[in-house]
């Protein structure tokens, strides 16, 4: 989205706002869903993030990527919600919600693969937040280490290090499941 459109958004132009929302809505929703893992809350967080963006738009300096800036705001919104969310029963829900994967494999293979995925998902959930978020941002959102570092406000080396630690833990589960 170029600076001309952003200027129009700052002035409250309805068409520009519509374009802003339509351009980034799906990306921000996916980001919120991957952090919060709950569709309704992700929808609320996306809406909240857009409202924060509109309020903060006049402070955006356009020196960094607009998308990275949007992601940072959404991520902060989601992290705040994570902090506010009370601990609740989720493991059972996770097991129920997991969808069977499609493919021409046998029922036995499906059971094994779902068990592996379930183990891997459980291992991802078992990571603490500082290791889980980089994994999600890297492997689901395909963001670079530099972009993740900017969003989490930590050095790039820290992101790489956290990813290595997370990979070492996840690889144990994944390799064990495959063998």
């Amino acid at each position: 989205m170029d600076s001309h459109w952003l200027e129009l958004c700052k002035e409250g132009d309805t068409l520009a706002i519509e374009r802003l929302v339509c351009t980034y809505h799906q990306d921000l929703y996916r980001l919120a869903l991957s952090v919060l893992d709950e569709p309704h809350e992700a929808e609320d967080a996306t809406q909240e993030a857009f409202l924060v963006v509109l309020r903060a738009l006049h402070t955006f300096q356009a020196r960094s990527s607009f998308k990275t800036w949007l992601y940072s705001i959404t991520l902060n919104t989601c992290r705040k919600r994570l902090q506010q969310r009370k601990a609740r029963e989720r493991l059972q829900n996770i097991l129920q919600i997991l969808q069977p994967l499609h493919g021409p494999s046998s029922p036995e293979d499906n059971v094994l693969k779902n068990e592996l995925d379930s183990d891997l998902w459980g291992a991802v959930q078992a990571l603490d937040e500082k290791h889980r978020l980089p994994v999600i941002l890297r492997y689901y959102h395909d963001l670079s280490v530099a972009e993740i570092a900017e969003m989490l406000a930590v050095p790039e080396g820290t992101v790489h290090s956290r990813l290595n630690i997370a990979r070492a833990r996840l690889r144990l589960v994944h390799d064990e499941g495959q063998s």
Binding site: R55, Q84, H160, H174
Partner: protein
């Protein structure tokens, strides 16, 4: 191109996974993989993990996103309100400024009219703020600073603060944008000292305790600023169009090292703290994965970059030499290295590298000479092999090494009752110096933070899954199990049986630079708390501790509160 070792190849493969490998390293890796079936298998495992994760994430989250139509109308309405509000506040601000100017003129006229004509001596215009506002006073007698904002409550505590004048610096987001605040160590006298509409973050005390450095984007991008304790004497030290991040003060408080991506590549820079525009570049190499540590006398800097290379240079950027890199004999570093610290003689440093073999990770501590002409003079000091898992290394002021082991050795099982062992490495031998056995009756636990001070005194924050209290543990050998020295009522609820293993709060332990105090920050749901404990209070159990400060706006994620490193005596009035 010469071939690389298996260890290097694995390190490169991890870097490939994050697109961090440069072209020459990619070529070396390709050559190695063509000849090495073992490393190809490792690469396959990493690829399989990537595919597995992508499949899991995709199956969970790749649904049709909800319609944006309702959001569009909501955003448009909100935008109109913001636009109207912005126009209104701009006009109101102009009006308020006019009113203030008129009031000042009236007040000035009134003062001049009432001023007694008693002396012919020429008046002296004050050039600085009052001394009492610059220096802290004992917290038990008077407040240093102005009143706090109404959203924050501070409490007193029975712990011992009466003999200290030092302050806590922190970044708070009370008015929609983070500013730097200071308060007394007992939580009183909170004052905003960097009030600005931009983001101010990461306060860092000078070692003499007289000034604060911080990062601010008030110029449009993050620069490095310094100021006095009361916010006066503000200077933009880096003043460049790039994003700068603060690293450390020199021991004499006269220089600051920071990282900047000027020119699109992260590199180290140093700036004098008494003058604007005195920035020098320290290293041309990519400082993305790097650390920089001052020598004890502040004359030289050790820089770790490219995950295993150690450079030594003078603080003015001269006399650069490489004392450790990938070709150093005997160095194994698949997972990268870190500098543990300088030895007191200023002639040697300790580095710690993590590597792996088929049995699991290996941790090695090396001693490297920093003297010119003795490059790559490296010797192995200590090596630890998995299992168990090394949780942490540290180096005490007397250069003795310490490390903590998790005794079960399973890096995945984070949620079982487990014992930790603390060792001190002296005269070539590891000596058990403490144990911490966390017994949560088989219900699992979460260890938020563990931190050693420079004397090797260790403290961790742990909460059993079935408990609603976070415990501060100090390992010891007296009862062979460690001791709970304090309990924090953070409000983090117990985990229900069968629930996710994810905790939604955090607790961070941080020692003051001089080891006199430990600062504990807890964050849960919408509440953050700060506890301050004097070192002597860690010798016995204090029961439930009182926070010195609570807030809904504390920035714990990327901006830790920090304790003033030394007591700064009040300056005599001029």
């Amino acid at each position: 191109m010469t071939d690389i070792s298996h260890a290097q190849a694995r390190q490169y493969l991890l870097a490939v996974a994050d697109n961090l490998l440069i072209e020459a390293e990619q070529a070396a890796l390709r050559t190695h993989l063509a000849q090495c079936a073992e490393c190809r298998a490792y690469a396959g495992e990493l690829d399989a993990l990537k595919s597995g994760l992508q499949a899991v994430f995709s199956s969970r989250w790749d649904h049709q996103s909800p319609s944006a139509r309702q959001l569009v109308s909501s955003a448009q309405a909100q935008s109109k309100r913001i636009s109207m509000h912005y126009r209104f506040t701009t006009r109101a601000r102009v009006l308020a400024e006019v009113v203030i100017v008129i009031a000042l003129v009236i007040a000035l006229n009134y003062i001049i009219a009432r001023r007694p004509q008693v002396s012919a001596r020429p008046t002296q215009v004050p050039t600085s703020v009052p001394t009492h506002a610059l220096q802290p006073t004992p917290v038990s007698t008077s407040l240093l600073l102005a009143t706090s904002t109404p959203v924050i409550t501070a409490t007193t505590t029975s712990l011992r603060y009466e003999n200290t004048t030092r302050l806590i610096a922190l970044a708070l987001n009370t008015s929609g944008n983070p500013d730097i605040y200071v308060m007394h160590i007992d939580g009183s006298g909170l004052t905003n000292i960097s009030s600005d509409p931009s983001i101010d973050r990461n306060p860092l005390w000078s070692p003499d305790g007289k000034r604060l450095a911080f990062e601010s984007n008030r110029s449009g991008n993050f620069d490095i600023y310094v100021m006095n304790v009361d916010g006066s004497g503000l200077m933009n030290l880096s003043k460049d169009p790039a994003e700068d991040s603060l690293s450390s003060w020199s021991p004499d408080s006269r220089q600051i090292i920071f990282k900047s991506n000027l020119g699109g590549k992260a590199a180290w820079y140093a700036a004098r703290t008494d003058a604007v525009g005195s920035v020098i570049k320290l290293s041309d190499a990519d400082a993305t994965l790097a650390q920089a540590i001052w020598s004890p006398n502040g004359q030289e800097i050790a820089i770790m970059e490219n995950k295993s290379d150690v450079l030594i240079l003078r603080a003015d950027g001269t006399n650069l030499r490489v004392i450790q890199n990938k070709t150093s004999p005997g160095l194994t570093h698949d997972y990268g290295c870190q500098i543990l610290g300088w030895l007191p003689d200023g002639q040697n440093i300790y580095t710690e590298c993590e590597s792996s073999d088929d049995g699991g990770p290996i941790w090695t501590i090396y001693q490297a000479s920093t003297q010119a002409g003795l490059t790559h003079n490296i010797s192995t000091i200590l090596q630890l092999v998995y299992p168990p898992v090394v949780q942490d290394f540290w180096m005490s002021k007397d250069a003795s090494l310490g490390y903590e082991l998790r005794d079960d050795g399973d890096p995945v099982s984070l949620y079982h009752s487990i014992s930790f062992s603390l060792y001190r490495f002296e005269n070539g031998k590891s000596v058990l110096s403490g144990k911490e056995i966390v017994d949560c009756a088989g219900k699992g636990y979460f260890r938020f933070s563990n931190e050693s001070n420079t004397s090797g005194q260790y403290l961790s924050a742990t909460q059993c899954d079935s408990a609603n209290i976070t415990e501060l543990w100090a390992p010891n050998l007296k009862d062979d199990a460690g001791q709970v020295v304090g309990e924090l009522n953070t409000g983090l609820p117990p985990l229900q049986p069968g629930s996710s293993m994810m905790r939604t709060g955090s607790t961070i332990v941080e020692w003051s630079q001089d080891d006199q105090f430990v600062l504990v920050c807890t964050s849960t749901e919408s509440l953050a708390q700060i506890y301050v404990i004097a070192r002597d209070d860690l010798n016995f159990s204090r029961g439930i501790l009182k926070p010195v400060f609570t807030s809904q706006d504390l920035l714990l994620d990327y901006s830790q509160p920090v304790i003033q490193p030394v007591d700064v005596p009040p300056q005599p009035k001029p």
